[in-house]
Symmetry: C2
Subunit: 288 residues, 2 copies
């Protein structure tokens, strides 16, 4: 019998988080290996209170841990990608049977959702020592949040794929959302336009980070630098007859972007886009 409380009576599960799961100790330290919360449905079915106080029991055979599982999941996703991630592979890395993991997690999807939120801890509002709230200029804070978000997406290319599938509402992604809402409020935009502004800015970053992250990963698995891959790809396109006329138009833009590595060019494009967004918010605020 697994811990899978009552999977049958769960017709509409939108997220691990909306089903009574505790925020995993609020910090990803190696605390109590407590598995999942009793689903908060019927307190009568509760077990004898597992390890009161939440202290780590040292006499455990495998030393398995929700936190250890999530951490290893993130590591595996980073190196091998989402497509090749499997419960069996993960279990192998953890030195246990595939089914051991299922004691701590209901499904693979739930585990991925946990990994997703874990990674949001790297974002500006959560990182220590960087009080971006300190800056009085909203545009400086907006830029900081955008750069932080982008960095996460690029570091973990699987994140964008997952965000689309689980509309994430874990504790850490929540913190980020709140920081975003505060910045947008400080722009002076009237409330009815704030949602649109949030979308324009962070959906852009999401899209940008998606392309960038997947490109980076592709280069890595091909064993090439980004510049090598880029020139190789351009070469391929140039040889294919159907693609004539495409580069003809694109070349103009590419040439105008001037000197620099692929990464430098992309950096500039990102800044330009942020300039446009900030200018647009300013213009729309003044107008309203």
């Amino acid at each position: 019998m697994t811990r899978a409380a009552d999977r049958s009576k769960r017709p509409l599960r939108t997220s691990v988080w909306l089903d009574g799961r505790p925020p995993a100790g609020d910090a990803p330290r190696g605390d109590a290996p407590r598995g999942k919360a009793p689903e908060g449905r019927a307190p009568e079915g509760r077990a004898p209170a597992p390890t009161p106080g939440g202290a780590r029991r040292p006499d455990q055979p495998t030393g398995l841990d929700l936190h250890r599982i999530v951490t290893e999941t993130v590591a595996l996703l980073d190196t091998d990608g989402l497509a090749s991630f499997s419960m069996r592979k993960l279990a192998g890395r953890l030195g246990v049977t595939a089914m051991s993991v299922y004691w701590y997690v209901d499904t693979k999807d739930d585990l991925l959702e946990l990994a997703l939120d874990e990674v949001f801890a790297e974002l500006p509002p959560n990182t220590e020592g960087e009080p971006i709230e300190a800056s009085p200029d909203w545009w400086a804070r907006l830029r900081a949040l955008a750069h932080g978000y982008r960095a996460v997406l690029v570091r973990h290319p699987w994140v964008t794929t997952l965000i689309g599938n689980y509309l994430n509402v874990g504790p850490r992604s929540k913190a980020f959302s709140l920081a975003v809402q505060r910045v947008i409020r400080d722009t002076g935009l009237p409330p009815e336009r704030r949602m649109g502004a949030i979308g324009a800015t962070f959906q852009f970053v999401y899209g940008f980070g998606t392309i960038e992250g997947h490109f980076k990963q592709r280069c890595a698995t091909a064993g090439m630098t980004q510049d090598e891959y880029y020139t190789e790809a351009i070469g391929s396109i140039r040889q294919s007859p159907e693609m004539a006329g495409y580069l003809e138009s694109a070349d103009e833009i590419l040439a105008a972007r001037g000197e620099g590595t692929v990464e430098e060019l992309r950096e500039r494009d990102f800044e330009v886009a942020l300039d446009i967004l900030i200018a647009g918010i300013e213009a729309t605020t003044a107008r309203g």
Copy 2:
């Protein structure tokens, strides 16, 4: 022996399109069932010229077709989603064995890439009777392109997932890219800022369409309307103790958006975002 020309000598395959595949007759009509091109590598290995002229041979046992395969793939992806799509299921729908499909297609990934480009035919520059080029105002055309792109992403939620994984360069997505480049050129932005502007606009639409499409799909599989699902989800969040303070801040924005269904609200947000982007492009142009 399958048609898989020389899969072993293909270490860096970025795309079906960059490997000599013909544009499938340029239009997805039921033309010659020709499978894949001979990979354009060594013309000596060519078969006796398959059905000269490209006319459809009526004596075929199953009537299988690259076009029929791609069309059915799109249909299946639309109804069941990317996660549950399988070659075996597809074959079943087509009334053939799983392996029959592999005569026309090298891998599942290649097939998905073909489906991806197929769907770009629904976009403005390809659709007939809508000469968006006619409008002299760049912002009107930009809005049209943005709306068209968004519509595709919402109609086919699997598209955003795939675009991230295969940086798509099929003939139809190429047509869309060209239309985008033309609009941005007409904004009067200096060339070195155009790439940033393209990103700001269409990465935003990509992100927006991703969330919207997946949300719609989620509602559909749950058998609820978008409004039902929305209020249900809000209710779940409100009950969870960790989420207090989240809605507190979000409520302000939600309330300010005023009356309307979820879809109407989203529509307004999208327009506001486009307003911001267009205003930003204008401001940046004037400034430069």
